[in-house]
Subunit: 336 residues, 2 copies
Amino acid sequence: MVSIDEVARLAGVSTATVSRALSGRGHVSDGARERVRSATDSLGYVVSSRASSLASGRTQNVGVIVPFLDRWFFGAVLSGVTSALMRAGYDVTLYNITADAAVRQQVFSTFLRRQRVDAVIAVAIELDDAETAQLLDLGLPVIGVGGPNPRLRTLTFDDTAVARLATEHLIGLGHREMAHIGAGPEFEADFRVPSRRRLGFEQALADAGIPANPALLEPADFTVDGGYRAATRLLSGSGPRPSAIFAASDEMAIGALLAARDLGIRVPEDVSIVGIDGYELGEFFELTTVDQFPLAQGERAAAAILAQLEGISDAGTVADLPYELIVRSTTAPPRS
Amino acid sequence: MVSIDEVARLAGVSTATVSRALSGRGHVSDGARERVRSATDSLGYVVSSRASSLASGRTQNVGVIVPFLDRWFFGAVLSGVTSALMRAGYDVTLYNITADAAVRQQVFSTFLRRQRVDAVIAVAIELDDAETAQLLDLGLPVIGVGGPNPRLRTLTFDDTAVARLATEHLIGLGHREMAHIGAGPEFEADFRVPSRRRLGFEQALADAGIPANPALLEPADFTVDGGYRAATRLLSGSGPRPSAIFAASDEMAIGALLAARDLGIRVPEDVSIVGIDGYELGEFFELTTVDQFPLAQGERAAAAILAQLEGISDAGTVADLPYELIVRSTTAPPRS
DNA sequence: TTGAAAGCGCTAACAT
DNA sequence: ATGTTAGCGCTTTCAA
């Protein structure tokens, strides 16, 4: 590996000048800068991040914590994060918090603490107090994306409001017997998104003076399969069939669509279905949804972190993330 | 940040002994090891990867290059890679090669060369000669996953054989008028998977003595949307309608399924459809497919890299990746 | 088995 | 604007 000394020698300057020319910190004459540039070019020199980070304390690397990699939503967020960060010259180190508790603990107790990253972005992870404390203890810029965390700077997505919006859309169409697929005790473990969405559903019902019916709350795990099974129970049960279903994610909504299809129940004639996310596949099913623009969420998180790292102001207002109701063809007024 | 000196002082040994005790390299008495352990515990000490990697040359970090993050297949592979690597104590730094040529170039010319990683895994990326050379020039263990690259160690997925298998399944059912959705000149840019799959299709036809019909080759971009549009052209065109469609990915196959549905064409009665991947959503459509177990692909790539890094033998035979035909309900004999 | 000490390749004062 | 030099916090000879 070619080192800074060789560059300095070839350019006829000191290593300090090479360092200054390359990093842009401190003043360097145009001539020196040019000779350094040509020397690095001909030598193919790249600054060693190990040496540079040890000396400067900066790694040019951001850690990103995500709970899943094989779900569209997280892939989209991550895609937005990496493209923005790479464009700014940063590497992205990925910490995938899975069901494995030991690995999860190791991420907070070891991986994040070994000084490999300058900042951390946590995507849709519900952190317990100890984990939040460990993150804060890093002394690095940290930003959460998704559920609010009062102890962290967060790009907040107002799940409750989004769920209300979806539910009010159904109410506005005239529905009264509405079911919800989403939060259930067994899926509460990780991030509180599910329960916040259910809360919004319940609030909208209450506001409209519609009594809550526990029989119309079906827990599911946010997968297509989970949505399918939940909808099957709702639509083929012995009780009265709901005239509309609000699923807490598009993947579950698609599962519900498929369940209705398999049961010979027409959408939206017999039952209306609405989801949340903006999952691309939803378009094919003409799914009514509330888009939450995950790619843009990732880009905004990256921009916020970069602003903090480069010290550009206290960093553009950590506001709420946008969302938008997209009415397509899976919702309509109830029949009767 | 607590440093190794504090640990050494508290444990009553030298920093060299702390280093040895923590890394497991060199001999340390049980007593010393125990005192070091208790000192690190009470101090909450974690070895600084910046200092450690500068001194040792090892980073405990593996770079992973992927072309997409928002497609299920790549998320699944990445999931397998990260879980295996994290379990072994490695971090994973992600390089997302997007359409942006400048960023792509930067990955090879700068990001990968700044000594942040001990090894590189390249997932389903078709590298040109210059890029391959740059990777090799790193002097690190490198492994490719997917398309064969004669100049790289590769976990090869035999796309041609897989495509033949899918096509032969259709031929075995009695189909003669088969269409293919996949490779097209405009999507050839990046990885040659599309054309290898088309090749397998053509080989199977040739072996069965079925003449190739260019009108039955529809290019598409591997998305559901692309599959939908390609199938729409095939199924609603003026020419004779194919009795079966082989799509080069499950997402395109699902698009084809949806197109058939929208055209009122029954599957498999009027047209058979088969895909490739093992995409979870395929189950809901009863899609016949060739599963390629992406999660396992990622785990195997990680295991191969770890074996090389830890010097465990020349590393378990870089064999072909497994695949399996899963016959469900979207394929059947043609009508007549 | 342990310790002393010389780097690893940069950056950032401090001087000039 | 530039050079000199003392670290950054470890690992790894080399000796003992």
